[in-house]
Symmetry: C2
Subunit: 182 residues, 2 copies
């Protein structure tokens, strides 16, 4: 029997702010299944390249005045946010093909970074460009306009967080296919 | 006026599992204020070294059977967890001295990794040692026994997430002081 002493516990969060972005649709749109794989990969690569360039704003609750003080001394920050456009039934998914690709192995959600997960708190490390009062401008956040922000943390890995990290073949394949040299 | 279209939104999470650890107390105990700074730094360094070595278990809800499949192909995973021993009033804190040290600048919570934050979802990158069914064994998780687990993600940065990242002087100082060479 697993020890789950607080089985019925609920964790209630309140957004600390919202994303303002030109990204309007759901992230990483599916529905390209009819395309040949090479075209899908090409589209995904262009999508990812676009996302890395996109600049958006994080509007932080003015009631939290001061909570950003000191943040501009960091070049990178980590955003925890809520994918509010994710259909709620996807919180019940257990396995997916990474990036919806049938050619990649069916994989447990906790072994992927799919937005469909029991508690869809998404995590992104982004470059901090500027702060104006309670608004941060960042580059590279793949979050749709209006996404509630759960938390902001400074990126703190002065040394690599995970030296000599290893990855499944499917993830190395995706990264190879998505790379600009690819 | 900030655009906060969903000001009253509540995000409700349910733990997907729990931490089983020899770490029983609240994380990074305070109350050493009476000690000389050099002794406090020495204690903190030993504490951090101990935390890097500690091995604990993550018990995942058996109802999520299959959600871990494929995870052992990763050497490192990221744990989002809830610091259930954190006094709730600390969710209202706006600024802290990093690590409770008065000699370091008073800093906005979002520019620190203090567990005291409006939505205390803590994030740790750890080494995955083994999986047995719905139990993961990991090394280096600084979470107290019984902490609810919110999410597990694979560590996916095949390339450095944040190349040429820069940090405030206070964080470089802490890392220097905490290093084993220090």
């Amino acid at each position: 029997m697993p020890p789950t002493p607080n089985d019925a516990i609920e964790i209630v969060l309140r957004p600390v702010g919202f994303v303002r972005s030109e990204v309007k649709g759901p992230v990483a749109p599916a529905g390209d299944d009819h395309l040949p794989l090479t075209e899908r990969i090409q589209k995904a690569r262009e999508y990812r390249r676009g996302m890395r360039a996109v600049i958006c704003e994080l509007w932080i609750d003015p009631d939290l005045d001061g909570i950003l003080d000191g943040i501009t001394e960091f070049s990178h920050i980590q955003i925890l946010y809520w994918p509010h456009l994710l259909p709620p039934e996807r919180r019940k998914w257990i396995k997916v093909h990474p990036m919806g690709r049938q050619d990649l192995p069916l994989t447990g959600i906790f072994a992927t970074r799919s937005p469909a997960r029991p508690n869809p708190i998404l995590l992104s490390t982004v470059r901090l460009l500027a702060r104006e009062g309670n608004v941060l401008r960042v580059q590279g956040l793949e979050a749709a306009d209006g996404s509630p922000i759960v938390d902001i943390k400074p990126y703190s890995a002065i040394r690599p967080e995970a030296e000599n990290a290893t990855f499944p073949a499917w993830m190395e394949q995706i990264n190879r296919e998505m790379s600009d040299d690819g």
